[in-house]
Amino acid sequence: MVSLQLKRVVVTGLGAITPIGNNLAEYWAGLCSGRNGIADITLFDASQHACRFGGEVKGFDPYEYLPRKEGKKMDRFAQFAVAASKQALADAKFEINDLNAEQVGIIIGSGVGGLKVMEEQKAILLSRGPRKCSPFTVPMMISNMAAGLTAIHTGAKGPNTCTVTACAAGSNAIGDAFRWVQRGDVKAAICGGTESPITPLSVAGFASAKALSTRNQDPATASRPFDRDRDGFVIGEGTGILLIEELESALERGARIYGEIVGYGMTCDAYHMTQPVPGGVGATRAIELALQDAGLTPEQVSYINAHGTSTPANDSTETKAIKKALGESAYKVAISSTKSMTGHLLGGSGGIEAVATVMALVNDRVPPTINLTNPDPDCDLDYVPNESRPLKVEVALSNSFGFGGHNVTLAFRKYV
């Protein structure tokens, strides 16, 4: 049995393509000002759909990041991932070269992959026959291609994989990459989540599952986590990417350090495909395991970026889980759901929310939960309603829970 000396792992670069901003600075400014990213769907004609709005990424030009010939053979979720990864590397001033390429790994999660190309090619298959289906159908569709293409376009040759745990995929990606670096498998990793699920089939399917808000008359107020009048989640798209590094090698190259990843907890409800287990015991254990992994106590937690989807079931269940995991401290911690502004990016959400959580640590400011006007009596914690707030953030958690019963909590700490 080999005994491992675990390494400390720090965050040195951040990238974000989101419904409220297409780079880190815009995204963080949007979060702090309570910017709303939800509006009518423009990516396809949604007039026949029960839900006709979402959190779209606006004005994204893939060719700012990719040659035209390459970019056009990539689905949107993969374009986002390469773009945000390049942002994170540039932000960290981290150069991948012949000497370090094999020491840089990639995990980019995606819940649903290239649905758009799959839907378009299925239509061609039915209307014109199999000979007319594009040779790029499969490579554009498969979820792991975000990680594969990010390697092609950055040169990272270390371990490369993809988590596909629905709405927990981005957080699983970061947690698993944290383990790689902690164990010394690699010196650095590009990790996060990406998604572009605003497509006819996906919106129809989520709507039929009664998971989506149908507040079509007022999309801007539809994502209202912890509010009495919430009626479902709002689908969003985008990517959040972290560059994480082993502390010593980050210090050696003089990297600017945003914060430290210190804990990763994951459990499964083993209960229902889409519903959380009553009482949120699976989520409770994920939070407890992350704290235990980090060697932290509940009173040390200053901020939680909640999963907070704005579905009736999630927000009250997550509240219970936080109370059970943190005890009395649950009433002192600041909690917010940034999905109130961005919508729910499925596999992308763990990525952009980890970025938000790290920025809260760095800036000692916590983003708000907007549209929280009539708190649900079952949701009686401090959700930082409607306005961001200065707060000394020493330790912050980010929760992500996915269809399939996946529960993930990440713990971050100020680097000292």
Binding site: P67, R68, K69, K72, K73, K132, S134, P135, F136, P139
Partner: protein, 85 residues
């Protein structure tokens, strides 16, 4: 006739492979000169089928390595179709 076919092939190739029209000479090899990989080549053949409303069987497609070969194949195919009509 062949001149017109060449122009239309050139337009399709320029769009599919994102290359400058100046590079698309009759001798240009799709893989060697114009940067087409195996998937690009399949897609290019499909685009040419669309453009000229013809069918290019896989065995024929495999032999079309250059712009001139594409033009020759398409013009003979169109002549055949005319004769048949």
């Amino acid at each position: 006739m062949k001149e017109e076919i060449f122009t239309r092939v050139k337009n399709v190739v320029a769009e599919q492979l994102e290359v400058d029209e100046k590079e698309i000479t009759p001798e240009a090899n799709f893989a060697g000169d114009l940067g087409a990989d195996s998937l690009d080549t399949v897609e290019l053949v499909m685009a040419l089928e669309e453009e000229f409303d013809i069918e290019i069987p896989d065995e024929a497609a495999e032999k079309i390595a250059t712009v001139q070969a594409a033009v020759d194949y398409i013009s003979s195919k169109l002549e055949e179709d005319d004769a048949a009509a």
